[in-house]
């Protein structure tokens, strides 16, 4: 039996990789993948806790996160494609039209 804290450590490590990736990489697709990593870190956390506490609500919430992540990925990738058609680049520093 794998103890709970291993799951927790895995979750933290995956989340940290996601944060680091989001902040350090400039390719918009990689940043997107980093966001997915963070969401999945949350999912790991939720499911392990759900199993540990014998409470199904955690798993329900995880399904919600997966559904939202799927929707987000669909919209996000559509935006990325639209941006790419205009800019011919996936580098986020090129996209600063909203600069104040």
């Amino acid at each position: 039996m794998v103890p709970l804290h291993w799951y927790m450590v895995l979750s933290v490590v995956v989340f940290a990789i996601g944060v680091f990736g989001f902040l350090s990489r400039r390719n918009i697709i990689i940043m997107f993948m980093s966001i997915e990593l963070m969401l999945n870190a949350v999912n790991i956390n939720l499911i392990s806790m759900s199993h540990y506490l014998q409470d199904l609500r955690g798993q329900i919430l995880a399904f919600f996160v997966i559904a939202v992540a799927a929707a987000e990925a669909a919209i996000g990738l559509a935006i990325v494609i639209a941006l790419f058609r205009n800019k011919a680049t996936a580098h986020v520093d090129e996209m600063k039209e909203m600069q104040g």
Binding site: L23, M98, Q99
Partner: protein
């Protein structure tokens, strides 16, 4: 039936019709609503007059106007003998002057505007005299002031007229400020503004003192003097008389109605109406008498040297208003109101006759007139009658009222009675002198007017040559004749018992203003009368001698007494005095403090500073929006860390 309500509200209706329809629909028929309304008011006045003479007093509250805690004011009407006299004066003069104005204002571009404001004025004046409380009086008071402003500035594209309107309005502010405080004091003292309870309880405040601006002052004196402030402004008494001569910039019918017959007498009406308060204070009474006497004397002396036909009559009006205050000040209210009543006729007549002259010769300067007698016989005749009445010649209206005032001053118990009596006698000498100087210079001798059209003359029409001068149309001369009847005969209802009359006028007013106690014998009364009449005849004789016989003499006298003449010609330099003591400092403060500091620094600073600083701050803040997604990400991460740290630390 409350058909007496028609008296004020018919002119109001005419005003509404004229102001709405006058410009586009009625045009040169705009006089019809106004004339019908004011004649209707006159008819209603005449129909209720017998009731009032029989002793009936109408005092009704129509509806509650303002109710706020203990403060309760109604719109209500009071018609007692005093109001009845004012109603007769106002509606009679207003009717005749409205008709006259049809001829005088004929073809003017603002014809409907003129009649609209005349109707509004009539409404306000009637509200003023018919009020049964001080607030409604104040409403009428300010209303007539407003109409006066409108009508003085009637020729608003002429700068002097616009300035004169403003001057009249601003000078009246000084007086009305005091009047307003007086009304507040009445409410504070009596808890009500209705005449009846105020005057019933007036005796109760005798001897009370009140802390006013840190001094303990006698309450009745304070209230009376504050009310008198308003009267001084409205009735053009020293020191607020400066607006009345300038008000002559308005059309002549306005001068006749507002600045001679009705509005300016509102001050006298106020003092007479508030006689229960004034009677409590000897100081206030003396102030009223002395102010009146001084105004009467100074205005009469100024009138001698002026050359503008309307200004002479304006100073004469000031002077006669002084007579009325003098009478009120010595306790002879009925004599003051009697003079108000006769004065309205002869002074309106003087103004309208002067208007007829101006209409014919298109100048105001009597030095450019002369010899008009043969061209304008009717105007000349009524001018002579008005002049004789104003000068107080035996048998005419002015004689009875003026004589009663002079006798009251002589016989009263007032401490200043003898002083004002001497000034009144001087006035009795000056009045016929300046009036007949005006008449002789205008109608007698040779015409001194320009015989060719002069583009630089006073009037836009240009001067008329002598052969163009003609008598005014009948619509103007007929009201003159009616007024002439009034100027001659209006005083006959107040003939004193000593001359075989019944003094009906004083008896009629007795329930309102009481009757002064005089000490004096019949012989004295005859003596005083003979003295004033002699002085008046000397004044007339002197005017005839100087301006008919030895017409070169006035110039020599002017040269010999050039110092006195210059002072009089410049009206004692009072305008200049006010200019340097009040107008200039006010303008200086306005420019240097209000405009330069308050306005430019404080108000502009706040108005421009608030958006300016917001703009500066947002300019700095928008730098945060780099447009780089990573920056936003770091912010979010840092924010999340900060909040988690906060939660952990504060747990």
């Amino acid at each position: 039936m409350k058909y007496y309500l028609l008296i004020p509200f018919l002119p109001l209706l005419a005003f509404i019709i004229n102001i709405l329809l006058g410009k586009e629909v009625l045009r040169d028929k705009a006089h019809w609503p106004s004339i019908l309304a004011v004649v209707g008011s006159w008819l209603v006045t005449m129909s209720i007059l017998p009731d009032i003479v029989a002793g009936k007093v109408i005092n009704e509250d129509l509806y509650s106007w303002i109710v706020s805690g203990k403060f309760n004011v109604s719109v209500g009407f009071l018609i007692d003998p005093l109001t009845a006299v004012m109603l007769v004066v106002v509606t009679t003069c207003a009717s005749l002057i409205h008709i006259y104005a049809v001829g005088y204002m004929h073809g003017d571009t603002g014809y409907y505007r003129f009649f609209a404001y005349m109707s509004l004025f009539t409404f306000c004046m009637l509200m003023l005299v018919m009020a049964n409380n001080f607030l409604q009086l104040y409403f009428g008071w300010e209303g007539v002031g407003l109409c006066s402003y409108f009508l003085i500035g009637y020729y608003f594209n002429k700068k002097s007229a616009a300035d004169a309107g403003k001057k009249a309005f601003i000078v009246n502010r000084f007086g009305d400020f005091g009047f307003g405080i007086g009304v507040f004091m009445i409410f504070l003292t009596f808890g009500t503004l209705h005449y009846v309870p105020v005057f019933q309880n007036a005796a109760g405040i005798a001897g009370q003192t009140v802390n006013f601006l840190g001094w303990n002052v006698d309450l009745p004196t304070l209230i009376a003097l504050l009310l008198f402030c308003g009267a001084v402004g409205k009735s053009a008494q020293i020191p607020l008389h400066v607006w009345l001569p300038d008000a002559m910039e308005g059309p002549t019918p306005v001068s006749a109605l507002i600045h001679a017959a009705t509005m300016v007498t509102a001050g006298v009406f106020l003092v007479a109406r508030c006689n229960p308060i004034f009677n409590l204070s000897e100081i206030a009474m003396s102030v009223v008498a002395v102010i009146g006497a001084l105004t009467m004397f100074f205005a009469a002396t100024i009138a001698i040297t002026q050359n503008d036909i309307k200004r002479i009559i304006a100073y004469s009006t000031c002077s006669h208003l002084g007579y009325m205050f003098l009478a009120c000040g010595v306790g002879a209210y009925s004599a003051g109101i009697f003079h108000l009543y006769t004065h309205a006729f002869f002074k309106a007549l003087l103004f309208l006759a002067a208007g007829s002259v101006i209409h014919a010769v298109h100048t105001n300067d009597i030095q450019e007139m002369g010899g008009l007698k043969k061209y304008m016989p009717i105007t000349y005749a009524v001018f002579i009658l008005a002049g004789l009445s104003a000068g107080g010649f035996p048998g005419l209206s002015g004689f009875f009222s003026k004589d009663e005032i002079i006798w009251s001053a002589y016989a009263s118990h007032s401490p200043v009675g003898k002083f004002v009596w001497v000034l009144a006698l001087a006035g009795a000498f000056f009045t016929p002198f300046y009036t007949f100087r005006l008449i002789f210079l205008t109608f007698h001798g040779k015409n001194r007017g320009a015989h060719h059209s002069d583009p630089h003359s006073h009037d836009s029409h240009g001067s008329h040559g002598e052969h163009h001068i003609h008598e005014s149309p009948r619509v103007m001369t007929i009201p003159l004749m009616f007024l002439a009847v009034g100027a001659v005969a209006a005083g006959w209802i107040g003939i004193p018992p000593i001359l075989g009359g019944g003094a009906h006028f004083a008896e009629f007013l007795k329930p309102v203003v009481g009757h002064p106690e005089f000490h004096g014998t019949h012989a004295e009364e005859f003596g005083v009368m003979a003295l004033s009449t002699t002085l008046a005849l000397i004044g007339l004789g002197l005017a005839a001698f100087l301006y008919l016989r030895k017409s070169d003499l006035p110039e020599k006298i002017t040269k010999a007494f050039s110092g006195v003449y210059t002072v009089l010609y410049n009206k004692y330099y009072i305008d200049e005095l006010y200019n340097y003591t009040i107008v200039k400092p006010t303008l200086w403060i306005a420019n240097k403090v209000i405009l330069a500091i308050t306005d430019a620094r404080i108000i502009e600073g706040v108005v421009n500073g608030v958006p300016g600083s917001i703009g500066w701050f947002s300019g700095k803040l928008r730098k945060v929006q780099t447009g780089l997604a990573q920056h936003y990400g770091i912010m979010m991460a840092a924010g999340a860390v900060f909040i988690i740290a906060l939660v952990l630390l504060l747990r």
